[in-house]
């Protein structure tokens, strides 16, 4: 407050430059790249064209991959919410050393690389791995299941990757609900289920909404998990995009794919925000 305006902007300058030069400019650059003609010796040509977009939108194959990416991310987000909500609730009630321990359990996957965690699932889901062994020991299956390189394993691993991103905002929202409110309604004869449905769930919505959006956006564009656990048979948009950029060096076409993916994601997020706007307003009231 006492610092001069000039000093404030001088202090902000390096960070603003970092984000402008190495993020805003490059992403703008990518938009431009998607309209370039393909190059012969270089990764892109000199002229501009719409051909990459017409090619993507006119080809059922790309629609299929886009749908697979968008729907897989939807399933991941939903499962993530189901898994995260009880954890967030439990965490919001914990105090003292227990709370610290639980935070560490949730933060340690967040702090371990995605690649490392996915590799862990490779071992767990192997043909003679612990998951198959325990399912057989429990008599649920007779022969080991082939889990590696299936869509189910990709979904499982992605849910695991994004749980912390969902738990933390919901936990914050739950902590903001005054305990007196739930106690009051319980003392007035509401059952546990009613308290949850009518008070806790609606009031935690301001945490659910950002969690859902963040997880969806990140899940749509996740590359490592489908690349490592998805196998060669199925493509997702991110693996396709990186393939175009590093394998075949079709930079303009790869950019167009990335833009189609981003625009679809933004549309879905906008739609979701519109649909859930009322729920959020109700929580604020």
């Amino acid at each position: 407050m006492m610092r001069s305006k000039k000093l404030t902007w001088a202090l902000a300058l390096p960070a603003l430059a970092l984000i402008f030069i190495f993020m805003i400019l490059p992403i703008t650059n990518m938009v431009e790249m998607s309209f370039r003609t393909p190059g012969s010796s270089e990764p892109f040509g000199d002229d501009y064209t719409f051909m990459h977009y017409t090619r993507i939108l006119g080809d059922g194959y790309y629609w299929g991959v886009l749908w697979r990416s968008l729907s897989t991310a939807g399933i991941v987000t939903l499962l993530c919410l189901i898994v995260s909500y009880p954890i967030a609730w439990h965490l919001s009630r914990a105090k003292g050393f227990k709370a610290v321990f639980l935070y560490a359990c949730i933060a340690s996957p967040l702090m371990t690389g995605v690649l490392v965690r996915n590799f862990g699932w490779m071992i767990v889901a192997a043909l003679n791995g612990p998951l198959n062994e325990s399912l057989m020991a429990l008599g649920i299956i007779e022969r080991p299941l082939r889990l590696l390189f299936t869509q189910s394993l990709v979904i499982l691993a992605l849910v695991h990757v994004f749980v912390p991103f969902m738990v933390l905002p919901i936990n914050n929202a739950l902590r903001n609900i005054p305990q007196s409110l739930t106690e009051a309604s319980a003392s007035m004869g509401a059952s546990r289920y009613q308290v949850f449905r009518d008070i806790i769930l609606p009031l935690s919505f301001p945490g659910i909404q950002p969690g859902v959006i963040l997880v969806y956006v990140l899940a749509v564009a996740a590359y490592v998990t489908p690349a490592l656990l998805g196998g060669q048979m199925v493509s997702y948009m991110p693996t396709l995009i990186i393939g175009e950029l590093t394998g075949t060096f079709q930079w303009p076409f790869g950019s167009a794919l990335a833009i189609v993916l981003s625009v679809s994601t933004v549309l879905i997020v906008v739609l979701f925000t519109r649909l859930t706007w009322k729920l959020n307003e109700r929580a604020r009231a």
């Binding site: 996957p109 546990r192 950029l245």
Partner: protein, 270 residues
């Protein structure tokens, strides 16, 4: 409590069911990490869990593999530079952010966390073209810039949270006693935000150490970070050496989380 338990007949069952559910969910969270650490200690020739006998032979094997060790060294070097540069820039930006108010402050916060909110894939693709254009394509410097950008929000969020805890009256008192802005910063603010600053640096380091997609696209000629080397290793040879490599990065993360806990307490960290 006992009264309540009597009134709601099934409550005890509900509580028990919830406890089982919570335990199952935490097991789910920790399973991959535990499995890797276990598998890295095997004495057998294959990646498996539970391990066949215990030994450290695969760690020996890891340190004998030039490609993996080079990857580890490169990740450590890039992570260290990222931590130092990022926390310095983020400290300055946090001071600036604190001075802003109203709508501008909200926009500024959003801008500073942008690299975290936009998928890494898009940033990586954009940077690939941009670095090529400014002739930093496939260089260590280019990769370093990418890592600094991607780790910046973690440092910024930690440091500005710590800065918010410093009462502005302290700053005013220091100024009214005749201290210059720099003296106030160095003698009053810096010591108070030190834990937050350290936490920001640690988070930036861990994040840089784990980045994959951006490193894949900006990979310098002839250089690999540890995650890149590990991915290649997993594709061509599926041996417990990989579990040892992964365990080394898990240990680094746990050490980081432990350090943050020691410095500030985890609850305040998130």
């Amino acid at each position: 409590m006992s009264m309540a338990a009597k009134t709601f007949g099934g409550q005890r069952h509900v509580n028990l069911g919830f406890a089982v559910l919570i335990i199952a969910l935490y097991v789910f969270l920790l399973v991959p990490v535990v499995t890797i650490v276990g598998a890295s200690l095997t004495n057998g020739l294959m990646i498996e869990f539970p391990p066949q006998g215990l030994s450290l032979r695969w760690y020996q094997e890891f340190f004998a593999r030039q490609d993996l060790v080079d990857g580890l060294l490169m990740s450590l070097r890039i992570g260290a530079i990222t931590a130092v540069v990022t926390s310095a820039i983020a400290m300055m930006a946090a001071l600036a952010g604190q001075a802003l108010s109203g709508k501008l402050s909200g926009v500024f916060q959003l801008g500073m966390t942008l690299p975290l909110l936009v998928p890494e894939l898009l940033t990586a693709v954009g940077l690939l073209f941009f670095l090529y254009k400014i002739e930093l394509g496939k260089t260590v410097a280019g990769l370093q810039f990418g890592h600094i950008l991607m780790s910046f929000p973690y440092a910024y969020v930690s440091i500005s949270a710590a800065l918010r805890q410093v009462p502005s009256s302290l700053e005013e008192a220091s100024a009214s006693l005749g201290a210059t802005g720099w003296q106030t910063f160095r003698l009053v603010i810096l010591p108070l935000v030190m834990p937050g600053l350290a936490m920001g640096a640690i988070f930036a380091f861990i994040n840089s150490f784990d980045l994959y997609t951006i490193s894949l696209l900006l990979k310098p000629l002839g250089g690999n970070t540890l995650p890149l080397a590990l991915f290649d290793f997993l594709t061509y040879e599926f041996k417990p050496t990989a579990a040892a490599a992964a365990t080394i990065s898990i240990i680094l993360s746990i050490a980081g989380v432990g350090l943050v806990q020691k410095l500030v307490g985890l609850q305040r960290a998130f």
